[in-house]
């Protein structure tokens, strides 16, 4: 991984888009602009969108583009400071107290400190990319805690004092929008809503991501997936599923199944809900045939 200067990479939105494409991530103009602005303004980037549109992938691509290490914090209900910032290793502290006997020991020494993702990012000698994934799953209290971190990029550990970031990390937050985020958080971030790509772009993404898929297949998959997403499904397929479908169908076709049949047999990697499958099954042949035609 070669590190590059963030400002050099983000010379313009077009430069960002070109670099992302080199990291096999196709970004449209507005996403490239949002990434460019986040890097140049030094603000966190908040990406919202339906599951499977490539929010986490975008964060990975940004880390790759900058040649920095990605530190990921996965949020969940009940996540708190001990999971996100730091925690003391109490068992080791107790053992150390026992062993020390009459000697003085510093139980707030580095070796007892367990650095969680946010502290890891601050203590890293070089700039890191921090991904706070699915922030909408955490509670409001955690969001407030994060606000404090995002405004100053510092953490106060009562026993140790304040730890400040040597270089400000690049922060990307993602949300599936299962709940409304606090206005204060949105205000601090550069914001971008990622929607599903159109058929043409999705075809390009499939070509880029899938291993050994022909151009015509990729276009047909993209077209069929668009058609399927337009139906009221419990779990509309994401981009990753579309890529897998193209891959699986290609493998089956090489194994001897003719085209429409190969798509139909590989449908399990695209639709992962029994009811959705039942709803789509009667129309599937027609959708595939139209897409192939």
């Amino acid at each position: 991984m070669t590190r590059v200067n963030a400002v050099d990479v983000a010379a313009s939105p077009e430069a960002v888009a070109a670099r992302l494409a080199a990291s096999r991530y196709l970004a449209d103009d507005s996403l490239a602009t949002a990434i460019f602005l986040a890097i140049r303004l030094g603000k966190p980037l908040l990406l919202e969108g339906a599951p499977g549109v490539g929010k986490t992938e975008a964060a990975k691509a940004i880390a790759e583009l900058l040649g920095r290490e990605l530190v990921r914090l996965q949020c969940y209900e009940g996540i708190d400071a001990a999971h996100a910032l730091y925690e003391w290793n109490y068992q080791r502290q107790l053992l150390a107290i026992r062993h020390a006997g009459e000697h003085e020991i510093d139980i707030y020494d580095d070796r007892f400190l367990i650095a969680r993702p946010l502290l890891q990012v601050l203590r890293a000698p070089d700039q890191r990319v921090l991904l706070v994934d699915e922030i909408d799953r955490s509670d409001h209290e955690f969001e407030a805690l994060l606000l404090e971190f995002l405004s100053d990029f510092q953490i106060s550990i009562p026993e140790r004092g304040t730890i400040r970031a040597a270089t400000q990390p690049i922060v990307i937050l993602t949300s599936n929008r299962t709940r409304e985020l606090a206005e204060a958080l949105r205000r601090r971030c550069v914001y971008h809503w990622i929607g599903y790509p159109d058929a043409e772009r999705e075809g390009e993404i499939i070509m880029l991501r899938a291993g050994d898929v022909a151009g015509a297949t990729a276009r047909a998959v993209a077209k069929a997936v668009q058609e399927i997403r337009a139906r009221p499904l419990a779990k509309p397929p994401g981009i990753a599923e579309a890529v897998e479908w193209a891959n699986a169908a290609t493998i089956l076709e090489k194994g001897g199944s003719p085209w429409p049949e190969a798509f139909r047999r590989a449908i399990g990697v695209l639709i992962k809900d029994e009811e959705d499958m039942a709803a789509i099954a009667p129309e599937l042949d027609q959708i595939v045939e139209e897409a192939l035609g």
């Binding site: 602009t33 949002a34 339906a50 409304e180 206005e183 949105r186």
Partner: protein
């Protein structure tokens, strides 16, 4: 302030006038972004505005309209009454638009005046027992164990963090162990109220109940549905009942229309923010479930809801009649998926039922089989 900056400040002011929450730091960010981008085209200014002023996806259309009106001088489109982008999705494939519009014009006024009468009537204090219901509700809801822990004197795991600081402050002496236990938090409560024509005699009562619920429970959400879906929780958060009900009445625009229960519930489930609320919640549908036509959508929606919910109940006013049996095709189809099918004909029976949600009960199907 350079003259070139004035239009951007003006745009932010315009947005604020239309109730967009735009902070000064966002305006500064917007101007810096425009400077950074060049800008080479109007589109870049638009991108910069979207990224830095961060309008919520629900109001994106409105935002774009203001942008066009301000920077391109387009005729200002009518924005009033723009609905939530997400609820529109699979709600109304355009066919019922006209119908619901006429319904609104005909009947909306009637209901509002009924509500007005309600609000102006001199209530005997707490005659309907809703005050008591509100006070009891928070402690009566079913609970789940949270990931958060609380201190406890017995039955818990050792709290090393606090124990250690005790040991250090006691200079190495080991005091009695300090314990923590996972907290119990009340589950969310979701009310889905049918406001179609057939439910008209009960709608006002249900809204009063919904107000008491939102006031009493920690986390409650209320939606109304008829031909479309409306979230009225925010209106019901207002403390004063009359004012809250008037606000809620203004939000709903499909009073007394037909019911398309299946499609509207599917629309509810297709919005992640809404369907996430149903997860692990006690869901109570207040409806007679008189679905016209095909009930396949209703069955799908109820199955999905029941898979998400902790407990799914249907309260129907028809069950107030002792001769009632769940015999319509729609009810027969969804009965196996319901946890409860109860009487929703009066406020009293409903409050009693909601307060008993934490107590286990046999599944609806078992009970109704026994009766019929």
């Amino acid at each position: 302030m350079p003259r070139a900056a004035a239009p951007f400040l003006g745009f932010a002011r315009l947005l604020r006038r239309h109730a967009f929450a735009i902070a000064p730091e966002q305006v500064a960010g917007f101007m810096r972004a425009v400077t950074l981008l060049g800008p080479r085209s109007m589109n870049e200014i638009r991108e910069a505005a979207l990224a830095t002023l961060a309008p919520s996806p629900d109001r994106r259309g409105e935002f774009e309209a203001h942008f066009r009106a301000y920077f391109y001088g387009d005729a200002k489109p009518s924005i009033e009454g723009e609905e939530d982008d997400e609820t529109r999705i699979k709600d109304d494939r355009g066919t019922r638009q006209q119908e619901s519009l006429t319904v609104r014009q005909e009947k909306g006024g009637e209901l509002s005046s009924a509500l007005e009468q309600l609000s102006s009537r001199d209530f005997q204090r707490d005659a309907d027992g809703l005050g008591q219901f509100r006070r009891k509700l928070a402690s009566a809801l079913p609970a789940r164990r949270s990931f958060r822990t609380m201190r406890t004197r017995s039955r818990g795991t050792l709290d090393l963090r606090r124990s250690l600081s005790e040991i250090v402050s006691a200079d190495g002496d080991i005091p009695s162990p300090l314990l923590r236990r996972r907290q119990a938090v009340p589950r969310k409560l979701l009310l889905l109220i049918d406001v179609s024509g057939s439910m008209k005699p009960h709608t006002a009562d249900y809204l009063k109940l919904a107000h008491a619920t939102v006031q009493g429970a920690d986390r409650a959400e209320v939606f109304t549905f008829g031909t479309r879906l409306t979230r009225i929780t925010s209106a019901l958060r207002i403390r004063g009942r009359d004012q809250a009900l008037a606000r809620a009445a203004a939000l709903v625009d499909d009073w007394d229309g037909g019911t398309r229960m299946g499609p509207t519930l599917l629309a509810f489930l297709s919005v992640p923010r809404f369907s996430a609320f149903a997860r692990g919640a006690a869901v109570v549908i207040l409806s007679d479930a008189l679905e016209r036509g095909d009930h396949a959508d209703l069955e799908t929606a109820i199955r999905r809801l029941s898979a998400r919910a902790f407990r799914l109940s249907l309260a129907t006013p028809l069950a107030g009649d002792p001769r009632f049996r769940p015999e319509t095709a729609a009810l027969r189809a969804i009965l196996p998926l319901l946890d409860d099918l109860v009487d929703g004909s009066s406020v009293r029976s409903l409050t009693d039922f909601i307060l008993s949600l934490a107590r286990p009960a046999p599944a609806a199907e078992t009970i109704w089989k026994r009766v019929s």
